[in-house]
Amino acid sequence: MKELETMLELKKITKMLGDKLILRNITLSLKEGETLAVVGPNGAGKSTFFKCTVGLLQPTGGEIILDGEVVKKKSAAIKQKIGFLGHESFLYNNLTPLENLRFYGKLYKVKDIDRKSTELLKEVGLYLFRDVPIRSFSRGMMQRLAIARVLLAEPKILMLDEPHTGLDQEAVALLNRIIKEKQKTGTSILIISHDFEQVHTLADRVAILKKGKIVDTVQLNGEMGLAEMKDWYEKVVMGA
């Protein structure tokens, strides 16, 4: 059987902010088509880890390799391959959904932006609101549009920072359906989440980040139940 290629590789990543060591020697890899969830208590360094991976922060030590290339601040070609869904939507309140997608589409050099934007708006259920400025949108609608924004450039790796936060059941189901479709097409996915249920539903592998270190990883692959996963997390994090 053909060995899957590594899409993302973090080699001995350290990050200092001021005089604080936030990330300590993180080594982690994500294979093509794999979904990895990073969980951990508050203040463990998850956001910093994510910012380094996306290229928003430069690690103090170590290197991040994405699709065979080292991630640096200026690597536009690499950033093109990343679909980053953050805490916030990154959308402009005065613009309509269509205008927001056109803007990001142009920045990501997407071809046939109008057709793709229209298709994505239909997919996330916002087509009827395509010409309404988004300032009146609910958190759920914003997140749907943010998902469309991320998918517009057809990224090779999706990086999702607590994507289920504040979503209603319908939006959660929509997001999960989209993530599962992406998994089938071979997109690698890195999720940071506190929502164990969603992590269990979506991830192939879970890693625990504690005090800036990856302290344990476990392969889910449908063999580990949700309760078992929670027990494992508690044991590792709380030392129970």
Binding site: L56, K73, G86, F90, L91, K106
Partner: protein
């Protein structure tokens, strides 16, 4: 280079589209400019010939202070929904963010000048007899320098708690050489004096523009990393 330019145009287009929809900043700037002109037109007697000497200074007072109102919004508007992170995580150079903002701010301030300067001339009963070409060139060079430095400092101060207060404090001292040159050159162009004298001031303004443009373009990346 072409990619940086096309990304900058995309960002400027987005900013202008957003501004023309709400007209929030442009109307605020135009109202401020109108109030300044109105107050000064009552403070000075427009029939007095000596008052004409105030006009070059007023042109730049309006430009700088109305412009600061717009510059304050330039980067703070990107903080809504953390849009700046969206731009920074995208496949674009930090220079294109800066260039895009400079283009958008320059366009907005130029529009305000197009409205306010004729109003200033009318209310001060000033009949333009100078060289229009030189006047326009001087206004453009001065405005560009102001926007180049102002946009950079607006990005720098956007994360500060009192960014509205910090921006003028940082900006006005840096603008002094440019504004001295701009006021002098404007006076010469308006009074139809020997234009050679204005050229020397214009050269100083161009050197200021080029120097600060290069410095701001290079340093902008570090501001973005810290935001």
């Amino acid at each position: 280079m072409m990619t940086v330019l096309s990304d900058a145009l995309t960002i400027a287009g987005k900013d202008l589209r957003s501004e023309f929809k709400t007209k929030q900043t442009i109307s605020m700037m135009a109202i401020f400019a109108a109030l300044v002109i109105l107050v000064f037109s009552f403070a000075f007697d427009p029939t007095n010939n000596a008052v004409k000497a105030v006009i070059p200074g007023l042109v730049w007072v309006i430009t700088v202070f109305a412009g600061i109102l717009g510059l304050n919004r330039s980067f703070t508007s990107e903080q809504e929904n953390d849009c700046l992170t969206g731009l920074r995580s995208g496949p674009i150079d930090a220079a294109s963010i800066y260039l895009g903002k400079v283009l958008a701010n320059f366009t907005i301030v130029t529009i305000v000048q197009l409205i306010s300067i004729p109003v200033l001339f009318v209310l001060f009963n000033y009949r333009f007899t100078g060289s229009l070409l030189w006047f326009v060139l001087i206004i453009l060079a001065g405005t560009l320098g102001f926007i180049i430095v102002g946009t950079f400092l607006s990005a720098l101060s956007a994360n500060a708690k009192n960014s509205e207060m910090l921006l003028p404090v940082l900006l006005l001292p840096l603008l002094s050489p440019l504004m001295i040159a701009a006021v002098q050159a404007t006076r010469i162009a308006l009074e139809n004096e020997n234009i050679e004298n204005a050229i020397a001031w214009l050269q100083l303004m161009s050197a200021y523009d080029l120097l600060f443009f290069a410095a701001c373009l290079l340093l902008f990346e570090f501001i973005m990393e810290g935001s």
